[in-house]
C-alpha cells in the first residue's frame, strides 16, 4: 500500500518538474516577444528609461498610427501578404500533384526527379542568389511580386513535396480504386479521397511555405529594389534606417504587426496539424 503511494508521489513530482521546465522554456522564448510588444506601446521617451519597464507606464498607439498613415508600411504589408499567399498556393498545388505523380504513376526517372529536387537544400541560399537573379532578369520578373513568388517556390517546394509524398505513400491505393469503382473519375478520386487524407500534411506544408516567404529577407532585398514591390522584411529595415538613428519604437510596432498574421495562421491551423485521420480505414 505504502509502496503504491510512494510511486504515486514520485509520479506527481516528476510531473511538476516537467511542467516547470516547460514553462521556463516558454518564458525564455516568449520574453523578447513581450519586450517587443511593450516597446511598441511605450512613448519613445520611455524606450530607454532606467530602470527599464517591461509593462509600459503610459500606453500609446501613436507608433502604430505613424506606421499605418505616414510610412509605406501598408504597401509592404500588402506585398508580403500577396507574396506569401501566392507562394503557399503555388507550392501546395505543385507539390501535391508532384507527390501524387511520383507515388502513383510509373515513368522513367521519377525517383531521380524527386531526389534531385532536394539538392536545393544542399547549397546555401546565397549561392543561388545570382543564378536565380539572372533567370528572373531574363524573364523580366525582377522587381515584381511574381518573381519573388517563383523564387520562394523553389525553396519551399522540395520540403513540401517530400512531406506530401510520405503522406500519399502511406495511403492505401484501395481507397482511390474504390472511389473509381463507385463512379469517380481519377481526378475526382484524387480530390475526394487523397486531398482530405493529406490535409494535415497540406497544412504543415502550407505553414512552412507561408512563414518562409513571410520572413525571407535576402532575396527580397536583392530582387525587388523599388518601393512599390518591396516586402516587409527589407522594407521595414530600410525604411527605419534612412535616418541616422533607428526608430526603435516604430520598428517594434512593425514587428508586432508582422507577427500577427503568422500567429493567426497558427491558431487556426494548429488543430489540423495534430489531428490526422489515422489508420484503421483499411484492414489487413
Amino acid at each position: 500500500m505504502s509502496g503504491r503511494r510512494a510511486l504515486r508521489l514520485r509520479r506527481r513530482l516528476l510531473r511538476v518538474a516537467a511542467d516547470l521546465t516547460t514553462w521556463a522554456l516558454v518564458l525564455a522564448v516568449a520574453f523578447p516577444l513581450f519586450w517587443m510588444l511593450g516597446t511598441s506601446l511605450k512613448p519613445s521617451a520611455e524606450t530607454f528609461a532606467l530602470p527599464p519597464t517591461l509593462i509600459p507606464a503610459h500606453v500609446t498607439f501613436e507608433h502604430f498610427r505613424t506606421l499605418l498613415f505616414e510610412t509605406p508600411f501598408p504597401t509592404y504589408f500588402l506585398n508580403s501578404v500577396i507574396v506569401a499567399t501566392g507562394t503557399t498556393l503555388l507550392v501546395i498545388v505543385v507539390s501535391l500533384l508532384g507527390a501524387y505523380s511520383v507515388v502513383r504513376f510509373r515513368y522513367r526517372g521519377r525517383r531521380l526527379a524527386a531526389q534531385m529536387v532536394l539538392f536545393t537544400y544542399l547549397l546555401p541560399a546565397v549561392v543561388l542568389l545570382l543564378p536565380l537573379y539572372l533567370i528572373l532578369a531574363s524573364l523580366g520578373l525582377v522587381n515584381s511580386l511574381l518573381g519573388l513568388i517563383l523564387a520562394y517556390t523553389t525553396f519551399a517546394m522540395p520540403f513540401s513535396l517530400w512531406l506530401l509524398r510520405s503522406f500519399i505513400l502511406a495511403m492505401p491505393i484501395d481507397l482511390e480504386e474504390a472511389a473509381m469503382v463507385d463512379g469517380a473519375s481519377r481526378v475526382e478520386a484524387f480530390l475526394d479521397v487523397v486531398v482530405p487524407q493529406a490535409l494535415p500534411g497540406i497544412i504543415s506544408a502550407a505553414l512552412f511555405s507561408f512563414i518562409l516567404s513571410w520572413n525571407e529577407y535576402l532575396y527580397a532585398l536583392v530582387f525587388n529594389r523599388q518601393d512599390h514591390t518591396k516586402t516587409l522584411p527589407p522594407g521595414v529595415i530600410t525604411m527605419l534606417q534612412q535616418n541616422t538613428n533607428t526608430e526603435w519604437s516604430l520598428l517594434m510596432a512593425a514587428s508586432v504587426m508582422m507577427a500577427v498574421p503568422v500567429i493567426v495562421a497558427f491558431v487556426f491551423l494548429q488543430r489540423h496539424l495534430t489531428s490526422g485521420f489515422g489508420a484503421g480505414a483499411v484492414k489487413g
Binding site: 510509373r106 492505401p172 484501395d174 481507397l175 480504386e177 474504390a178 472511389a179 473509381m180 469503382v181 463507385d182 463512379g183 469517380a184 473519375s185 475526382e188 475526394d192 479521397v193 482530405p196 487524407q197 490535409l199 485521420f277 489515422g278 489508420a279 484503421g280 480505414a281 483499411v282 484492414k283 489487413g284
Partner: protein
C-alpha cells in the same frame, strides 16, 4: 442484370510475370460464381480486370453483349468489396454509404433516405455518424457491403471479403451473403482461397491454378468429379489421398492395384476402364471420407489419431504411402494399431499419373 463473359483473357505484368492465361468463362446472369485457388493464382487480377482497375494484355470481357475492356471502372455499373474494405476514413458511415450515389448525382434527400434504409437492413442504423476507424471489423465489413449494395449495380465483385473476420463472424456473414444473393438475384463474382466458402456459397466454382482455369462446375461436380489432380487435391478437407499404382483386368473386372492396396471397381466402371488397363502410371485419389477401418482393400499402421468427437481423423502408414481416414465414431483406433482399410469402390477417383488428368470413367 447481365452475364459476364471472359474471352481468351490474358494478363502479363510489366515485370514479365504472367498472372492469367487464356481465361475463358461465362458467368450466367444472376449467378454466384466463385474464383477458387491458392494464393497467387490470379483471382484478384481477374476480378480487377472485371472492375476495370487493370487492363488485360489481350482478350475481351463482355457484360451481356457489351464489351467493357475500354470502359473506366465508374462506367461499368459494378460494385466491388475490397478485401481491405477500403472505407473512406475521413467520411462517416453515412457519407461512405452515400458516396456512390453522390457520384451519380442523386439528390441529397434521396441519398440520405436510401442510406438510412440500407443501414437499417444491415444493422448499421446506430453507427451512421461514426468514422470507420471506430467500428469493429464486422461492422466495417457491413459498411463495405452496404456501399456496394446502395447503387444496385449489375455485377457485384467481392475479393475475399470475409478473410479479415474471426471464424464465428465469418460463418455468420457467409449465411448473410447467401441470403443477400438470393434476395437481390444479381450476378456476383466472389474470390476466395477458402474452399469452405466456395463450396457453401456458390452456384458454380471456377478453380484456378497458376493463372489457368482448371475446372468450372457446381460445388458438387467439383467435389465428385474433379477434372484433374490439382482440383481433386485442392477441394476437400482433409485433402484427398493419392496412391500410385496400375489397373489390371481380373476375370473381366478392373482392379486398381498399388503396393498393399487393392480395390475392385464396380461393374459399370469396369467396362469403361477395360481399355485403360496398365501395370503402372495410374494415380488413385481417395477422399478420407470414402475410407473406413474395415477389412477389404488393405491395411496400415496407425500413426496419429485426431479425435473430433463425432469422428476420428486417422493417419495410417501403408506400403503405398500415408493415408488419412475419416472414421465415424469415437476411439475407433489408437496409435500403433494395425488397422484394416476399405475403400469405397464407387468413390475412387482415377487420374493419369503423368498428366494428372482424370481417366475417362
Amino acid at each position: 442484370m447481365v452475364s459476364v463473359r471472359y474471352q481468351h483473357l490474358h494478363k502479363a505484368f510489366g515485370d514479365g510475370s504472367v498472372a492469367l492465361q487464356d481465361f475463358s468463362l461465362e458467368v450466367a446472369d444472376g449467378e454466384f460464381l466463385t474464383f477458387l485457388g491458392p494464393s497467387g493464382c490470379g483471382k484478384t487480377t481477374t476480378l480487377r480486370m472485371t472492375a476495370g482497375l487493370e487492363t488485360p494484355t489481350s482478350g475481351e470481357i463482355f457484360f451481356g453483349e457489351r464489351p467493357v475492356v475500354d470502359l473506366p471502372p465508374g462506367r461499368r455499373n459494378i460494385a466491388m468489396v475490397f478485401q481491405s474494405y477500403a472505407l473512406y476514413p475521413h467520411m462517416t458511415v453515412q457519407q461512405n454509404l452515400e458516396y456512390p450515389l453522390r457520384k451519380q448525382g442523386v439528390a441529397r434527400d434521396e441519398r440520405a433516405r436510401r442510406a438510412t434504409a440500407l443501414a437499417a437492413t444491415l444493422q448499421l442504423d446506430a453507427l451512421l455518424h461514426r468514422r470507420p476507424k471506430h467500428l469493429s471489423g464486422g461492422q466495417q465489413q457491413r459498411v463495405a457491403l452496404g456501399r456496394a449494395l446502395i447503387r444496385e449495380p449489375e455485377v457485384f465483385l467481392l475479393d475475399e471479403p470475409l478473410s479479415n473476420l474471426d471464424a464465428e463472424l465469418r460463418t455468420q456473414m457467409r449465411a448473410e451473403l447467401i441470403q443477400l444473393h438470393r434476395r437481390i438475384g444479381r450476378t456476383m463474382i466472389y474470390v476466395t482461397h477458402d474452399q469452405v466458402e466456395a463450396m457453401t456459397m456458390s452456384t458454380r466454382i471456377a478453380v484456378m491454378s497458376k493463372g489457368e482455369l482448371q475446372q468450372v462446375g457446381t460445388p458438387l461436380e467439383i467435389y465428385r468429379e474433379p477434372r484433374n489432380r490439382f482440383v481433386a487435391a485442392f477441394v476437400g478437407s482433409p485433402a484427398m489421398n493419392f496412391v500410385e499404382g496400375g489397373i489390371e483386368l481380373r476375370d473381366g473386372r478392373a482392379v486398381f492395384r498399388a503396393a498393399g492396396l487393392e480395390v475392385a471397381l464396380p461393374d459399370a466402371r469396369s467396362a469403361r476402364l477395360a481399355g485403360l488397363a496398365r501395370a503402372s502410371g495410374v494415380l488413385a485419389g481417395i477422399r478420407p471420407e470414402h475410407l473406413s477401418l474395415e477389412p477389404g482393400s488393405g491395411e496400415g499402421r496407425v500413426l496419429v489419431v485426431e479425435a473430433m468427437g463425432h469422428e476420428d481423423i486417422v493417419t495410417a502408414e501403408t506400403p503405398a504411402g500415408r493415408i488419412v481416414v475419416r472414421s465415424a465414431g469415437t476411439a475407433t483406433a489408437a496409435a500403433g494399431d494395425l488397422v484394416p482399410l476399405r475403400v469405397d469402390p464407387e468413390k475412387l477417383h482415377l487420374f493419369d499419373a503423368a498428366s494428372g488428368e482424370r481417366l475417362a470413367c
